[in-house]
């Protein structure tokens, strides 16, 4: 299988990249890792006339941690880099685990987290942890920039709010509160690439003395047309004293609020199991 022909640009600055994208708009595609883009082009699902590679802009390969601002991830950062990064492993262990789940060793060495978000697959693994971490995305274009939440970024299966002249330049993850822990639990198909059947991420803040839930966020992949937050389940748990009974109840609420595109019975059952496991694991980590 060959990649159809295109004109190739490798800008050396973000400004130059934006200017090229502004000029070519819908005829152009941005290249980071290429693991989704080139597959789609080989299958002739998309046929961009122009490819704008970000690889010439070295500062986009950065993972930065700031005690006040939190974590920032550039569009050339691969899944493998996030798996191995000491701060990501320490402070965002479940994001690192979700990145380890993605693809294969080779795909993780090539594919980028930002590219994965732009592809907007409903089963995107890292999306569930990023949703509960309330990640924001910085989008730039020739004449300015905007910051949107990940939740508003996804609008449908493989669809985002990204305009044709915009580049997703940074993922911003706020610093988690104290007594907070996360967990990512998943099940995947038995195929070569092991696409996720259901992925459940939980970020929990719990009072260590009376085990009450101060804050909880639940994110689900492969459970709806886009990765989603299980808001009703979150509301059910917030403020409650955490025990096995309430956790099972909350998992049931999450299971009821998903909108699977296929295999609804199985996905609901598994959502219940995985949300419960994720909450219990987060509790365990805080204790």
């Amino acid at each position: 299988m060959r990649i159809p022909k295109f004109e190739y640009f490798c800008p050396s600055s973000i400004e130059e990249g934006c200017s090229l994208l502004y000029k070519h708009q819908t005829e152009a595609k941005i290249l980071a890792g290429g693991t989704d883009l080139f597959v789609k082009m080989k299958k002739k699902e998309i046929l961009p006339k122009v490819i704008i590679s970000l690889k010439g802009i070295q500062k986009l390969d950065r993972i930065e941690w700031d005690d006040r601002l939190g974590l920032r991830i550039g569009p050339l950062v691969t899944h493998e880099a996030l798996v191995n990064h000491p701060i990501v492993r320490e402070k965002f262990d479940f994001l690192s685990e979700a990145c380890f789940k993605i693809g294969t060793r080779q795909v993780r060495n090539m594919g980028t987290l930002v590219g994965n978000l732009c592809n907007a697959s409903p089963s995107s693994d890292a999306s569930a942890p990023l949703l509960v971490l309330e990640a924001n995305l910085k989008l730039v274009h020739l004449y300015g920039e905007r910051v949107v939440s990940l939740e508003e970024f996804f609008i449908g299966p493989f669809q985002t709010i990204l305009d044709p002249q915009e580049i997703l330049i940074e993922i911003q993850i706020p610093k988690p509160a104290r007594y907070t822990a996360g967990s990512y639990q998943y099940l995947h198909k038995a195929s070569s690439v092991g696409e996720t059947l259901v992925g459940a991420a939980v970020l929990l803040t719990m009072d260590q003395k009376d085990s009450s839930c101060q804050e909880v966020r639940i994110g689900l992949s492969s459970a709806a047309p886009t990765p989603i937050r299980a808001m009703a389940a979150e509301r059910r748990l917030k403020g409650k004293r955490m025990d096995g009974k309430i956790v099972r109840e909350v998992a049931q609420v999450a299971s009821d609020e998903i909108q699977p595109r296929s295999r609804p019975w199985y996905r609901r059952e598994m959502t219940k199991v995985l949300v419960e496991r994720a909450i219990l694991q987060a509790m365990e980590k805080i204790r």
Binding site: G103, Q106, N109
Partner: protein, 156 residues
């Protein structure tokens, strides 16, 4: 589209080539440089037959543009034997019968090399997880696993 002049460093040797931007590293290795060890099977990044190492890391050459492999150290299966002496992994694959049709072998060995370079004594599970992106349709995976484990113990 216009050809671009690029410089690739493959198995320690530099070569200058004129390539069109859409050509993959796999195509250029096989068709322009005659290095047919890396194979095309699925063409979409699922099977690992096209695996080569870039700066020591396994990547899919069927989804990598040749022009973007410039300035990096590319290692193919042809570059593993040193002075006529096979790499310990190559020897182990032969010794343990971990090859049948051979189509997956070069990718399998290169990925295994990167696993052992990162961690010379991986567990069985770590090898399995590491090789999950390399599919074999002949021998099953036991002999491959045994070969990698043998090479990991006797690694020089």
């Amino acid at each position: 589209m216009k050809k671009q002049l690029i410089m690739l460093r493959v198995n320690g040797e530099s070569c200058e080539l004129a390539v069109e931007p859409q050509r993959t590293l796999l195509e250029v290795l096989r068709e322009d440089l005659g290095l047919t060890g890396a194979k095309e099977a699925c063409g979409t990044g699922e099977c690992g037959a096209c695996t080569v190492l870039i700066d020591g890391k396994p990547i899919l050459s069927c989804l990598t543009l040749a022009i973007e492999a410039q300035g990096k150290e590319i290692t193919t299966i042809e570059g593993l034997a040193k002075a006529g002496e096979l790499h310990p992994l190559q020897k182990a694959f032969i010794q343990y019968g971990a090859i049948q049709c051979g189509y997956c072998t070069s990718g399998m060995i290169l990925n295994a090399k990167s696993i052992l370079d990162e961690n010379p004594t991986p567990s069985r599970d770590e090898i399995l997880k590491g090789l999950e992106g390399n599919l074999c349709r002949c021998t099953g995976y036991n002999k491959i696993l045994e070969a990698v484990m043998a090479a990991s113990i006797g690694k020089d």
